[in-house]
Subunit: 399 residues, 2 copies
């Protein structure tokens, strides 16, 4: 594939935030022995390089009672080399939707000869293993992993670590276009291939997020993203002393991290998870607070933002209510960061009042934090889980 | 990629019509030295095989005053190895839209280092070359190539021949998803790679053709296709004596042919072009009428129908009016075929009356035919065009 070379990089302590890079070409063909001179503004990433990175990557698909046709389509779009990890929080009573997902995944893996793992978020074995290593922060009162997308993502990242993957990427299960899913994963691989640091993150933004209604309007940016990005940029600006609009992916659900980075970040519950990742990076490596991890600080943390060729078409769920529900936690993560000063707090309060998301005098909620994965004995966790891994595999090998 | 192996093939004289094959996986990863046992029902096509076929393929994009953003997106989705041939019938007066398209294509080719040709349907050089070799069937009274998608397609096929391509595929310019375009081309390549005859055609159908409206409904099949397929199947059934619904792609705009097949078919003007291709094959090689080409008859003509993973999302243009406008010529092509007997004629008349497309007692229009490309001296045409080819190239090589 071909993408823009990173033309501008904003620095924030040890953090390098790259400007948005556009995908120019989904498929750049065979490697050439005698290539035409490449344009300096363009990065060509060869097919085998992409596949090498895909081989080292787990793709996590969190799902909850999603339409089976959409789920199947998303799975079919993930490049073959990646290990698919489905973390499902779908219902098991009345209709066992989890079983339907597992059956669909098994069928797919059977016919395409590929590996995948699937587990339910309320799986007792995983909960027990987490309890055994003292990672109780994502466990609820029932002793099982709590509900919530973030908790599922964290559990899936742990599984990716047990499977010895070097990268982990996330794809939402409600995407209508398998071809868009395929592109997201390539964007992840492309980002990691050009990263200079082993502590890297790739966040995807969509060329257009089609707002599907009568007449079909392709609207650039969702409202939530727009507001989150503005507040995030205010935070960065206040520290650097220069206005910036570098952050375009504050809410990116489609994103990926090197495992080494994924292990050292503090996460947040619910919809705060994606913005909190950036906040954690700024807090840990922005140079304002003490460095969170010496080796990572030395290498630097790199953030790539990639704009896809494909538009994004997903299930529309709810209107203003959802906007508030998604906006509030993300802005809460920024608002309650020790980095956040009065000006940015003012911007956040103003936005939330304008959206009727809070009442005058109120503050956004403080996020519920999830400790970094490396706060536990990962080897011990892997040892406990190792003997159960086969039960999560979707590809049953014939004798 | 992985697609269904062809499970059933209907034979009609020397014509082999394969049942619909579904795409299982867009990206089947690296070639394996020690592969897991493949399922017998699945065909895995390796990346390098696909790219080898793409290298020998021209992708024709007919366009007419299409939104530039859509045009650019479609172009960006075509795999790099293919030669893009844009045939534009866009306006040149007032706003020179053709120039805008050429500029956009040049910019794209410049940054992605790829080859493409672009010409205007009313290009006087091409018209003169056609006149010189006596291929006047697609020329209008002004001596230039007539308006109409079919005429543009035929001119583009001739250009693909001059460029010495072995395969030619068509992609409409009004597609919202570059990732879907990419998949179509892979379906073409996959089809040719499993074909046993050098006379092969691949026709694409969409998993869903999303009917975009409030609430977003993904409706399977368009109305026009449904009716055309029914009439086409009636034609085939009447000859074989067995009911069949094998034809699912009567109107497929996304389709590709080996050049050897493309050269020997009779085409039709306007919206009849895609159904007429099938009718021409049935007439020429169905064994009812004399064989149209002895070598092709010996090899047999193979038709593949591939159902994509990606849904199809394109510009909606018009309602019932368009339905009639698209339906009438296609059914006309079937109705006026010497193969068409009374029963199928009855089915066609019935459908057209139901759609208010004709009045009682009327018949659908007879298609305007375009002679096969091999009716001219192709070598002479190529010689005339050879010295002009550079002027159609979108990639200007720096010294």
């Amino acid at each position: 594939m071909r993408i823009d070379a990173p033309k501008y990089t904003e620095r924030f302590g040890s953090v390098r935030i790259n400007e948005v890079q556009q995908v120019l070409q989904l498929d750049s063909g065979k490697p050439r022995t005698l290539p035409l001179r490449e344009n300096v503004a363009v990065q060509k990433i060869e097919e085998d390089v992409i596949k090498d990175f895909e081989e080292r990557m787990a793709i996590v698909i969190p799902t909850k009672d999603e339409k089976l046709k959409l789920f199947e389509g998303v799975v079919s779009g993930v490049p073959h080399e990646c290990l698919i990890i489905v973390v499902s929080n779908s219902q098991r009573k009345r209709v066992d939707r989890f079983r339907m997902e597992r059956d669909a995944l098994r069928q797919f893996c059977h016919f395409t000869r590929r590996e995948a793992l699937i587990f339910h978020q309320k799986d007792p074995v995983i909960a027990q293993a987490l309890a055994d290593v003292g990672y109780t922060g994502i466990l609820g009162e029932d002793g099982l992993v709590r509900h919530g997308k973030a908790e599922g993502m964290v559990a899936a990242m742990l599984m990716a670590m047990v499977a010895k993957k070097d990268y982990v990427g996330f794809i939402d299960a409600d995407n209508y276009f398998p071809g868009a899913v395929w592109e997201y994963v390539r964007c992840y691989a492309a980002g990691f291939s050009i990263a200079n640091s082993p502590y890297a993150m790739v966040r995807v933004l969509w060329r257009y997020k089609p707002k599907v209604s009568a007449g079909m309007l392709f609207k650039k940016w969702g409202r939530v993203s727009e507001i989150t990005n503005r507040c995030m940029n205010s935070l960065v600006s206040s520290k650097s002393g220069f206005e910036t609009d570098i952050i375009k992916t504050g809410n990116a659900g489609e994103h990926a991290m090197s495992m080494r980075l994924a292990q050292i970040l503090t996460y947040a519950s619910g919809y705060a998870v994606e913005p909190q990742e950036l906040v954690s990076i700024f807090e840990g490596f922005g140079g304002v607070l003490p460095m969170a991890h010496q080796i990572a600080a030395k290498h630097g943390v790199e953030i790539f933002q990639t704009e896809t060729r494909n538009p994004h078409l997903h299930e529309e769920k709810g209107g203003h209510h959802l906007l508030v529900e998604m906006l509030l936690p993300g802005l809460g993560a920024i608002y309650h960061s020790p980095l956040c000063e009065d000006e940015t707090r003012g911007v956040i309060i103003e936005e939330l009042l304008r959206q009727d998301a809070i009442k005058p005098g109120e503050e956004p909620p403080k996020p519920q934090f999830i400790a970094p994965l490396n706060s536990i004995d990962l080897k011990k966790f892997a040892t406990i889980m190792a003997e159960h891994m086969e039960s999560y595999s979707a590809l049953e090998e014939e004798p």
